[in-house]
Symmetry: C2
Subunit: 316 residues, 2 copies
């Protein structure tokens, strides 16, 4: 039995039924409903924030969890590993929309789009009072050089940017002019006009952006986080912004989501907040099911060549 | 004597003096001031909207006009041709900022940035009530395939777009998948997700976008004009937008600039107005002087290989 934690639109249900007529797909609305099927669930398809130790204990038939997002940081990895449950996710399907997000937000800041839009609302034709800059030719430092980071760099290069990637190993990755190790992070940051964080949430990336890192960036730097909110020490970012250590921060992810009303991030003029939308795309479900279908075939033939297997020790 | 219609910043004056110590550069603040030098002006450097028949008549020593913009449509071409005065402009130096403008505005519309910004102002974290689309993979029709059009297409291709160019000749131009003749305009428009007009102002391009052209576009089309305002029959555009013939129009240029308060374009929700900013860049003067300096050398050695000569018969 293959249990989905959310109801898919009918067109997607039809698509799966058409391709896998012999499978028993169950689409749930609530966790209560999931719970009624839990003993017989062989495959669980979820967005990943609904699985805890108890869930794993009750899911006695569970062999494979497919997470329909890139972040798997909420999973109880120890129990999953112990039971030998396979975990896969949909990493890679976020790269197109997330790269568009990054470029659009850099353009929004460099082209003062908020002011231009405000003037438009007021029917004011003003091309003297605004200062427009080009993102072309700038230096972009991308922290996290997986599928998303590499795609952002590819677009950066299309805009004539110099691209620097930072990753654990510092190994050469496509679309980067240079690659640094995470131990050389500050050195890389010191070169940046734009810093793009696409780090996942792991023990090592937690609070990796502290005051010291913002200080290492040039004062002109624009910092953009679309990885995970917990990569940023938020008090430090606020202090650094207020001290002029960097010019602007764009945050699509924060530690507490939704960001509460009244949080100082909302009103700081040089912080732009977006509500975790970088990964949103009308193509999302299509692309996610492409991967699920491939992996379901692997699962049924007891294969081992899953797309996007999660390393249960590293957590991503 | 080389007369500038506007005062350049001192750093630029120093740069010219350093490179051409024997030239007599005059920087004016007003047209009255220009008039006091007009009889001795050999070279006139201008933004191009201050030259009329009378100017040409009075400027008896004038041999070369260098226009610091791309649009030269206001010049009295007949008199200039008669006198054998050379005209050059700075076309080509707009391509970087104008391409960034085009991409940023397409992203603004497709990613509902106005709504996202409005929510941010109200401290509302909402990622359900907005619908984000990708510009990746769409079809872009660029009308006008010069330096700017080709650069927009290059960036379009970086976003995985299919690019179609439309020009008088229909000749193959770099970065376009297909090229159409202007006589096949409607056919090209019928394929577009995005239509980008970068047409100059000439007799042939005046009012080229009429109701018929907007009707030829798919209803989902986004039309962007950053060429010249008079390429668009504005009543037709308004009617077509209101009839749903196209989804959205982005206008950086209009027939009457500044667009008057109260003009219906300001308040139509699916028309976005920007105040002729697509060509603005902090690099503008630097790049414009690069071309002027090259051409000044050609002028002094009585050469013929000017950069960007204007064809006085065609008007561009």
């Amino acid at each position: 039995m293959i249990v989905f934690s959310r109801k898919l639109a009918e067109s997607y249900q039809d698509r799966l039924k058409g391709k896998f007529p012999n499978e028993n797909f169950i689409y749930c609305d609530t966790m209560e409903e999931v719970n009624t099927y839990i003993r017989d669930t062989e495959v669980y398809v979820t967005f990943g924030s609904d699985i805890n130790e108890e869930f794993i204990k009750k899911a006695v038939s569970l062999k494979w969890i497919h997470v329909l997002s890139a972040g798997v940081d909420n999973l109880p990895f120890a129990s999953i590993r112990e039971r030998g449950i396979r975990v896969t996710n949909v990493r890679g399907i976020h790269k197109t929309q997330m790269s568009e997000y990054a470029i659009s937000m850099l353009l929004q800041v460099y082209r003062q789009e908020k002011s231009v839009i405000k003037n438009e609302e007021n029917q004011v034709w003003d091309n003297q009072g605004i200062s427009l800059r080009e993102i072309t030719g700038k230096t972009m430092v991308v922290v996290g050089t997986g599928a998303i980071g590499s795609e952002v760099a590819r677009l950066g290069k299309a805009f004539g940017m110099y691209t620097i990637g930072v990753s654990r190993s510092g190994k050469k990755v496509e679309h980067f002019n240079e690659n640094y190790k995470i131990s050389e992070l500050n050195q890389a940051l010191s070169l940046a006009d734009f810093v793009i964080s696409v780090l996942p949430s792991t023990k090592e990336t937690k609070d990796i952006f502290k005051y010291e890192q913002f200080k290492a960036m040039p004062n002109r730097a624009v910092f953009l986080n679309m990885g995970r909110g917990d990569a940023v020490m938020e008090e430090d970012l606020l202090a650094a912004i207020r001290a002029g250590e960097i010019e602007h921060a764009i945050l699509d992810v924060v530690k507490e989501e939704p960001l509460p009303k009244g949080h100082p991030f909302w009103t700081e003029e040089t912080i732009t907040i977006t509500p975790h939308i970088s990964g949103v795309s009308p193509e999302y479900t299509n692309r996610a099911l492409d991967i699920f279908e491939e992996n379901l075939q692997v699962f049924r033939r007891n294969g081992d060549n899953y797309i996007n297997p999660i390393d249960l020790t590293r957590g991503y």
